[in-house]
């Protein structure tokens, strides 16, 4: 039967099949374009606002006959520290990310692979820290940092965030999925514990490490209240606190504000553009086994 029906299939049959495929493809692209327009709308709109000059009556699209790009230059002219702030945010986010990857994988390694008394209790204590809202520890952290004289410094911005219960939990769960046989085989072959972590476990855990890194980086980049508290000197500010100077009190003039926001956003945006492939691979690598 199937052979017979196969014989009836003509060119036009395949043609219509291809047409359907084409329509599907076009429809998908239209949907994707529409979705990206929606997602990118805030970006377009802020760009549009940045080009409209100092006005309190902005419109959706700028007047294309008199685009005013001066806001981008002005942002740097008005705030000498803008470049420094971007650098600060980068250094802080990078250090926190590296620190969290380091502490989380070490702690998770101990919890997932090694055996020692009280392991579960430690694990539950670490889980317990997840239940403590960050706000409730702000004052104590602030006291510690200011007593150590770490206000207005990178260490003041970085150190309180070097370890995280979430990171340890995430890494532990991932390490648990890696067969224990691997560990035993490595040990039998004469591989030390540190070397096993470094040469076998971590390379296998890239997806989890990638997720944690992105999460830590973005979280730190977006911090507002902590940098506001521990930083007094303008040159030590991070971008999120810094860009607020472009907002004007009493009356809302958006061009400078938006220009500064775009400037500040650009580094992370570039990072995403360059790192997207890696990021997507990292997030989906564990989805299929084999």
């Amino acid at each position: 039967m199937s052979a017979q029906t196969g014989l009836v299939k003509t060119d036009s049959y395949y043609g219509s099949f291809q047409a359907i495929r084409l329509i599907k493809k076009v429809a998908t692209y239209i949907l994707l374009v529409a979705a990206s327009l929606i997602v990118l709308f805030p970006l377009f709109f802020s760009f549009s606002l940045a080009l409209q000059g100092p006005t309190i009556a902005p419109t959706l699209l700028p007047d294309f006959s008199k685009l005013d790009f001066s806001a981008f230059g002005d942002a740097f002219k008005i705030e000498k520290n803008l470049g420094r702030w971007i650098l600060n945010s980068f250094v802080v986010s990078l250090l926190v990310t590296l620190g969290q990857l380091f502490t989380s994988s070490l702690a998770a390694y101990a919890l997932a692979t090694l055996n020692f008394p009280g392991k579960n209790i430690f694990f539950f204590i670490i889980l317990g820290t997840l239940m403590i809202p960050w706000e409730s520890t702000i004052i104590t952290n602030y006291l510690t940092i200011s007593n150590w004289g770490w206000k207005d410094s990178y260490q003041g911005l970085v150190v309180p965030f070097l370890s995280t219960g979430f990171g340890i939990f995430l890494m532990r769960q991932y390490f648990m999925t890696i067969p224990r046989d691997l560990y035993e085989a490595a040990i039998i072959d004469g591989c030390g514990r540190t070397r096993y972590l470094w040469s076998i476990l971590l390379p296998l855990s890239r997806p989890a490490l990638g997720t944690l890194a992105v999460y830590a980086f973005l979280n730190t980049w977006n911090q507002y209240y902590w940098p506001l508290l521990v930083i007094d000197a303008p040159e030590w500010r991070t971008t999120q606190v810094g860009i607020t100077v472009f907002r004007s009190s009493e009356i809302a003039v958006f061009n400078l504000q938006m220009a500064a926001t775009i400037i500040v956003m650009l580094p992370t945006l570039l990072l995403l553009v360059f790192g997207q492939r890696q990021l997507v691979r990292g997030l989906t690598a564990g989805a299929l086994k084999g």
Binding site: A57, G83, I139, Y142, S248, L270
Partner: protein, 529 residues
């Protein structure tokens, strides 16, 4: 292998970006005379100054008064000289950077936190620069904070760590919380000690706001009050009086009906009025009707224990807005703040709505934007409308300077010296001329700078007259209590509910008051007596 390649790419990109950022930062610093190293050097200088100052405390305190008066005299000259150029400059929102002046050797440094940003923040820096160049004994380092809220939050948390600024600019509704911080020194104590005659010359409405329990706690700095803005051109077209200052609700309603224009399809092309749900105006309207916001006596003598805005008097303003919205019809832009406020302002300066209600501090922004928009909007100002027969007046808003107990006695003296200087008529005239806030001193109106400003912005005079017509009393002094921010949110939520979904005004206000009172009780119970 591919993975490591793209990681290399990422790190390369990061390095490039970081280098670029550094280049930008360095390039800018070398291009201008502001050295990036000032911070480090001033830090060293402060510690040195602090130690030397400690030894000279007794000698210094006796000389401050004399030193300050001469300083004031010299700045007066400086102000008028500079004033001539600044008054001529347009109040355009374009900002030029104001670098702080360098600290003179041997001066004692104190820190000021302020919450004004943008063009206004620049004027603060300019004012501080004036102070720093007017004398060499003290040096004020002005540190800009993101906004008023952030300043107060940071202040509250920093109390724990002990490192507070010597002077801090806090907004009007933070007054009770500042007093409750127990870390402030009332300026009245300094004034009394120095036997100065400052208080009697401060605008009564302004003085009353910052006076609690008979004491002037902080020195008012930037003050404003709300007015009704209207488009004179539209008023003329509709045959309305553009010189009329006092409007009742009914008159505004009738005017708004006349002002509303529709095209042939029935679409509104010009709204009679456009507004947001703004709790500040709600509070103002209570005062205009001589009603209290908080019991007892708006918290002016003893701590506020109950909020009592949910009365029929309180309901008048929301009801008026509702009537405007439904029957004029007017345009409603949602709860005040952020994009909603911008939409309202934009609607007014482009002529879409002919009347709006906002602070007089927005006058210059409105004037310049109306000009750029080029829709022929001619900005007029009138008193905030009132129900027929109302006998009260408006409350001031804005912020004031607080002296903290931070640092040595000498630093507190430095703080007072600076605060006292900001209240000088010349400083106030300069401040007002460059910002659009009221000068807090009556004597400031005699300064040429201020006269020029009033000649240039005749609308401003109407706001001054409205403020002076305010009868003194607890209602117009304004309420103070510790949870003003959340109460404002509750009121705005209630108004928004009324204006968008409808409901009984009294009921909505009752709910808002109930919630606000719970929050207030909680606050009051945590404040140590």
């Amino acid at each position: 292998m591919k993975i490591s390649k793209s990681w290399k790419l990422i790190s390369l990109a990061m390095v490039i970006i970081m280098l670029a950022a550094m280049l930008v930062a360095c390039g800018d610093n070398t291009a201008t005379p502001v050295p990036a190293t000032t911070a480090a050097t001033t830090k060293a200088a402060t510690t040195a100054a602090a130690t030397t100052a400690a030894g000279a405390t007794t000698a210094a305190t006796t000389t401050t008064a004399a030193g300050a008066t001469t300083a004031a005299a010299t700045t007066a000259a400086a102000t008028t000289a500079a004033g001539a150029t600044t008054a001529a400059a347009a109040p355009a929102p374009t900002i030029t950077p104001i670098p702080p002046v360098a600290q003179p050797a041997g001066s004692l440094k104190i820190t000021l936190w302020f919450g004004l940003t943008g063009a206004l923040g620049n004027v603060v820096q300019q004012t501080v620069n004036k102070y720093n160049t007017s004398q060499s004994k003290y040096y004020v380092e002005a540190i800009q904070q993101p906004d008023y809220d952030a300043t107060l939050n940071k202040f509250n948390t920093s109390q724990a760590g002990g490192s507070l600024p010597s002077v801090v600019q806090i907004y009007d509704i933070g007054t009770q919380r500042m007093i409750d911080s127990k870390r402030v020194l009332p300026v009245q104590d300094f004034i009394d000690r120095d036997k100065l005659d400052v208080v009697s010359d401060i605008e009564p409405a302004v003085r009353n706001y910052y006076t609690v329990g008979g004491k002037l706690y902080s020195m008012p700095f930037n003050t404003s009050s709300p007015v009704m803005y209207f488009n004179k051109a539209a008023f003329k077209e509709a045959g309305l009086d553009t010189e009329k200052r006092i409007w009742t609700y009914d008159e505004v309603f009738d005017a708004a009906k006349k002002l509303t224009k529709k095209d042939s399809s029935g679409k509104v092309t010009q709204y009679g009025a456009g507004f947001t749900a703004y709790s500040w105006l709600f509070e103002q309207e209570l005062a205009i009707q001589n009603a209290l916001f908080a019991d007892p006596n708006n918290g002016r003598e003893t701590r506020s224990s109950k909020l009592i805005f949910n009365t029929d008097t309180g309901a008048n303003w929301p009801n008026f807005l509702k009537k405007l919205l439904d029957e004029a019809p007017a345009k409603y832009f949602g709860r005040d703040g952020g994009a909603n406020s911008t939409a309202r302002d934009s609607s007014f300066v482009t002529g879409e709505s002919a009347i709006t209600f906002n602070s007089i501090a927005n006058l210059r922004g409105y004037l310049s934007s109306a000009q750029t928009a080029g829709k022929g909007v001619d900005v007029g100002v009138a008193y905030l409308p009132r129900p027929t027969g109302a006998t009260g007046g408006v409350i001031i808003g804005g912020a004031s300077l607080w002296i903290t107990d931070q640092g040595s006695k000498e630093q507190q003296e430095a703080a007072w010296d600076f605060v006292k200087w900001t209240s000088q008529p010349e400083t106030q005239a300069y401040w007002s001329a460059n910002t659009g806030y009221y000068p807090i001193r009556k004597a400031a109106y005699n300064v040429q700078d201020m006269k020029d400003t009033l000649a240039k912005y005749p609308q401003f005079q109407i706001a001054v007259d409205q403020l002076r017509a305010s009868p003194s009393g607890f209602p117009t002094a304004g309420a103070i209590f510790g949870t003003f921010i959340s109460t404002r949110q509750n009121i705005e939520a209630a108004m928004d509910q009324l204006l968008t979904k409808g409901g009984t005004t009294k009921q909505l206000l009752d709910d808002a008051a109930k919630k606000s009172n719970e929050q207030l009780d909680e606050y009051n119970s945590t404040v140590k007596k």
